[in-house]
Amino acid sequence: MARITVTVNGADHTDEVEPRLLLAHYLRDKLRLTGTHIGCDTTNCGACTVLCDGLPVKSCTMFAVQADGREIITVEGLATGGQLQPIQQGFKEEHGLQCGFCTPGMMVAATALLERNPDPSEEEIRWALSGNVCRCTGYVNIVKAVRWAAQAMQEQAAPEEPATRQPATEQAATR
């Protein structure tokens, strides 16, 4: 057993865990934060996406012990108080979800995208979400949902200079 302290959605949790306990299981079973889903065994689907120190990662492919001392945000940490965050609102407004199983992972990955790039194009959104699989929506409305959120956040923040960033290489854009 190993003793870990992880900050999850702003609160510190100290637990004794087996080293082999996956972070996804720690969040779901120990902390009962079941919004983080598990959809595959091979790190392909992204249903388990959480933010680890601000970066979106697949929590099924990290051991809880690796998260010791780190800051984790799960889907449950997106809304502040009762208020839906713009990405959550966007998914609802644009019908960006159907069964909802991929949705937490999608929203977490989209949160990280908008953090980096507040005004992403359709291609940039599709690129950033390409580690998350959805079987229901065909992605059309997921893209719209993220655009909706980007606009809502820009209106809220009224930024001076909306930054755009292209995918890292030319090749990436045509991939």
């Binding site: 080293p19 082999r20 065994d41 091979t42 992204g46 492919t61 990290m62 012990v65 390409s130 890292a168």
Partner: protein
């Protein structure tokens, strides 16, 4: 989905990592980004008794450029390389390869050095590092050695690294100022390993090709150098003819398996096509440099 039990070490100093590895030998595995090792453990294709996590070792997460070239630490993630302006300007093969590896989430954890150590014949960094003539710096309690990547891979998922050794960094020699390169990958979807990958790197010497680096992904037991093709290119006048000749030579260097992705013939055809296209693109970049 449920890995077997193991002991976990998470040293805060490289010396302790080396001591742990010396103590446990091949019962231990180094854990870097975990993007290859953990999936294998979840499927129980791997069940190491001890995991020695590099995650808390300081000093391994830097990309540094020295006059000799790049030094990339063992904890540098794919995503960092993908975002690097420096790579885009001076190491275009790397810049082209980084975004084609796995998917954006995996790239936030997986490492270049871990990829090399993992030695998947379908891994992309291996070819890129071969084309660039990089070196792996390995440390153990016995000391340090510097291994040319061209002598590093020994077979599928095997390298010359000893179980007691940690690859601490990769060194990439600085290409000449008039150089260009690219990485082309045929994949079936984002997150797929390469059906075929080609890393091409050209350095111009006056108007002729100086050094050429050409390496192939997923067409053999490990990433392979298309040596004959490199020889065809070296010293030649760059252009479609010599590129086509190099493409043929590269196709001969490829020994791919036939599988659901395609026949060996098909994969050789892709090698041919991508070598030609990759060299043409490299030349464009070199001439623009």
């Amino acid at each position: 989905m449920f890995p077997a039990a193991f002991d976990y070490r998470s040293p805060a100093a490289l010396e302790d990592v080396l001591d742990s590895l010396a103590a446990y030998g091949d019962e231990a595995k180094v854990l870097a980004g975990g993007m290859s090792l953990i999936p294998m453990m979840k499927l129980r294709f791997a069940s190491p008794e001890v995991l020695v996590d590099l995650g808390r070792v300081p000093g391994l997460d830097a990309v540094q450029e020295t006059p000799d070239g790049l030094r990339i630490g063992a904890l540098v993630r794919h995503a960092e390389l993908e975002a690097s302006e420096l790579l885009r300007q001076r190491y275009p093969v790397m810049a082209a390869a980084a975004p084609l590896i796995a998917d954006p989430l995996v790239r936030n954890r997986g490492t270049l050095v871990g990829s090399l150590a993992h030695a998947d014949p379908a891994g992309d960094w291996g070819s890129v590092m071969l084309a660039l003539n990089a070196e792996v710096v390995a440390r153990s309690t016995a000391g340090q050695r510097v291994i040319p990547v061209r002598e590093f891979f020994t077979g599928p998922f095997s390298t010359v690294l000893q179980p007691t050794e940690v690859a601490v960094e990769v060194r990439v020699p600085r290409p000449s100022s008039r150089s260009g390169g690219t990485y082309l990958k045929l994949e079936r979807k984002v997150g797929d390993f390469a059906t075929v990958g080609v890393a091409a790197h050209l350095e111009l010497d006056n108007e002729r090709i100086g050094r050429a680096g050409l390496a192939l992904t997923a067409v053999g037991g490990h990433n392979v150098v298309a040596a004959e093709a490199e020889e065809v290119l070296a010293g030649a006048e760059p252009g479609p003819e010599v590129f086509a000749e190099a493409a043929e030579a590269a196709a001969r260097a490829a020994d791919p398996p036939s599988d659901v992705r395609g026949s060996a013939d098909y994969k050789r055809q892709v090698v041919r096509t991508y070598v030609r296209r990759g060299l043409a693109r490299s030349l464009e970049l070199a001439q623009a440099a």
